[in-house]
Structures are given as structure tokens and as C-alpha cells.
Symmetry: C2
């Protein structure tokens, strides 16, 4: 087993380092906010060398994007209920629950931070968006394979996700189950 | 004429001070970003006393919100074309043009900054939102008075404004005239 394979063994040292680095990032975001800490701060907090972070993630922006994606995948995994209406309702309800929580604006804040932070920021933002879009597309593809008519992923973004995000951002609430289901029904 | 009347005379000293303070805020936002300057910084840049700012705006959050509203009203005044479809298409096109410009994310950045800045921030955000909603509502009321069927203001926010903002925030572009008109047509 070479060095790289050992470093990547699941559950091994590499996974522990990743978990510690992710936790350090989460703590620093909540204490200082985006834009107010460096790779060095993350490394110090996680008890690892700066070089470990640069080797694995390349830059701070990619690390921030990875932390957000891990969190999104844990909190709002794409459902597979057997029908498109069921999938979209479940997904929309998960997102509504997540974004009305205490850290609800985290994704919007990250997108703002990455969008205003040069080429590396834009690239990290685009990768995050593309990965979530791929997951959403898989859900829509499964529906089409079952013979259901499905909207495209941008339709889901425009008319289910965007209204919920903007309502939370401007303090228009609450996102009731009726409202959230209504967004799904209107799109379908 | 008492002191207060003199201070509020349009085009007088008060208007000049307001213009200088607004310009100072705009400069500081673009140089340092939200959250990275104080009332004292604005006063120093505008060449006025801190107390002049506190007397007129009360706090930094209200001042930021006033600057954003003035800018919105100048760049995207609510149109009055004689038909609802015309009004909404014109308004949507203005917003699309504004948010795809170099400072396009200003309103989203302000909303994020105010949302994460305590009670004064939330209040300033709510006042900004309510003022723009009132203007939009007047446009929709005019349509109803002409006998047209009009959506409510939240429908316009959810299905015309929110998709455009979220697309810009996540770098999904461009907002073509066909796309923007399509959002209006879909809602009507």
C-alpha cells in the first residue's frame, strides 16, 4: 500500500483529519463568519499542518464548498419515495426545515462569500452548484424512467428552491407545509 | 422657520449632507464590504459629525437600508405602462439588468448582512422589504382598478424576482429577455 492509498483509507487517519478540519471550519464560520478566517486558522483549530489542508483541498474556497456540500448531503439527501411528487415534496420539506433553522442562511452566505472572492471562489461555488444539480437531476431522471413527466432541474431551482430561500432571506415566513407543497404542486 | 424645517428643506444643506453620506456608504461598501465599517467611518468619509448621522438615521442598519432603497428606486422604479403585463415585463427586465451588473448582488449581500446583525438589522431589513412591497402592491392595485386579474405581491417575489436572484447568486446565466419574459408570462 503506497502513501496515497494509506491516506485515503476510509475510516482511517485521513477520515479523522477530514472530520476535524470540517468541524474547525464549521466553528470558525459560526464564530467569525465567512471571509474572516484563513487556511492557517482552520489548521490551527483542527490541530493539523496547513500543508495537509492545501494538499487535500487546494484552497480555502474548495474546503468551504466541501463542508457545505457534506452538510447539505447529510441534512437534505435526495429522497427516493417511488413517485416524483413524493420525492419533490419530501425534498422541499427538508430544505424548508433546514433553511428556517438557526444556520438557515449558511448556503446563501457561502454563495455570497464565494461569489465575491475571485476566480477560486467562483469555481468552488460552481462545483458545489453542479454537484447538487447532478443529484437533483438523478431524482428527475428516475421519474422519467418510471414514465412520469418531470420538470428540469432549473425549474425546481426557480420555482421551489428560490422562493423559499428568498423568503427566508427577507424574513417572510413561516414556510408552512401548505405553502411548500403548493410550490411543488404548482410546478408539477 | 425653525431649525428642523430648515434642516429638511429640499435641496438645502440637509439634502447635500444626505447625498454625501449616501456616497460615503456606497464607497465603503465597495471598498470594505458590509460589516467592515462603522457610523464613525461613514461620518469621517462624508465630512460630517457622527451625531448628524445618528440624528437622521438612528443607526447604521437604517442608513444602509436607506441607501439601498434610494438606489433601487432610482434603478428600478415601478413602471406604469398601462397594462399589467407591460408593467411586470418592464420591471422584471430592469431588475434583471440591475442584478447582472457589477454590483448585482448588493441587495442580497445587504439582506444577509442585516439578517445576521441583531434586532436593528432585522428591523432595517423588514422596512426595506415592506417599502418595496408597498410599491409593487401599488402597481398590482392599479391593474386591478383597470379590471385586470393580478397576482399578489408575494407571487411576484416568489416566481419572478426570486428565480432571477438565485440564478445570479449561483452563477446560472445569462438572464436572457426570453427567460425573464417567460417568468412573467408563467405567473400571469
Amino acid at each position: 500500500m503506497n502513501e496515497r492509498q494509506r491516506a485515503r483509507r476510509p475510516g482511517g487517519r485521513s477520515a479523522r483529519v477530514a472530520a476535524e478540519v470540517h468541524q474547525a471550519v464549521t466553528d470558525l464560520i459560526s464564530e467569525r463568519g465567512y471571509g474572516n478566517f484563513t487556511v492557517g486558522d482552520v489548521a490551527a483549530r483542527a490541530g493539523v499542518a496547513d500543508s495537509s489542508i492545501y494538499r487535500r483541498w487546494g484552497n480555502l474556497e474548495t474546503l468551504l464548498s466541501d463542508v457545505a456540500l457534506t452538510r447539505l448531503n447529510a441534512q437534505s439527501p435526495m429522497p427516493d419515495t417511488g413517485t416524483l411528487a413524493g420525492d419533490l415534496r419530501t425534498y422541499a420539506a427538508q430544505v424548508a426545515c433546514e433553511i428556517t433553522g438557526p444556520d438557515g442562511l449558511l448556503l446563501v452566505r457561502l454563495a455570497v462569500a464565494l461569489s465575491t472572492n475571485g476566480q477560486q471562489g467562483l469555481q468552488a461555488r460552481d462545483e458545489l452548484r453542479d454537484e447538487r444539480t447532478r443529484q437533483l437531476q438523478s431524482m428527475l431522471d428516475r421519474a422519467r424512467e418510471r414514465g412520469e413527466q418531470a420538470p428540469d432541474a432549473l425549474g425546481v431551482l426557480d420555482h421551489i428552491l428560490a422562493p423559499m430561500y428568498i423568503r427566508v432571506l427577507f424574513g417572510i415566513g413561516p414556510l408552512t407545509p401548505d405553502y411548500v407543497d403548493g410550490l411543488v404542486d404548482r410546478l408539477l
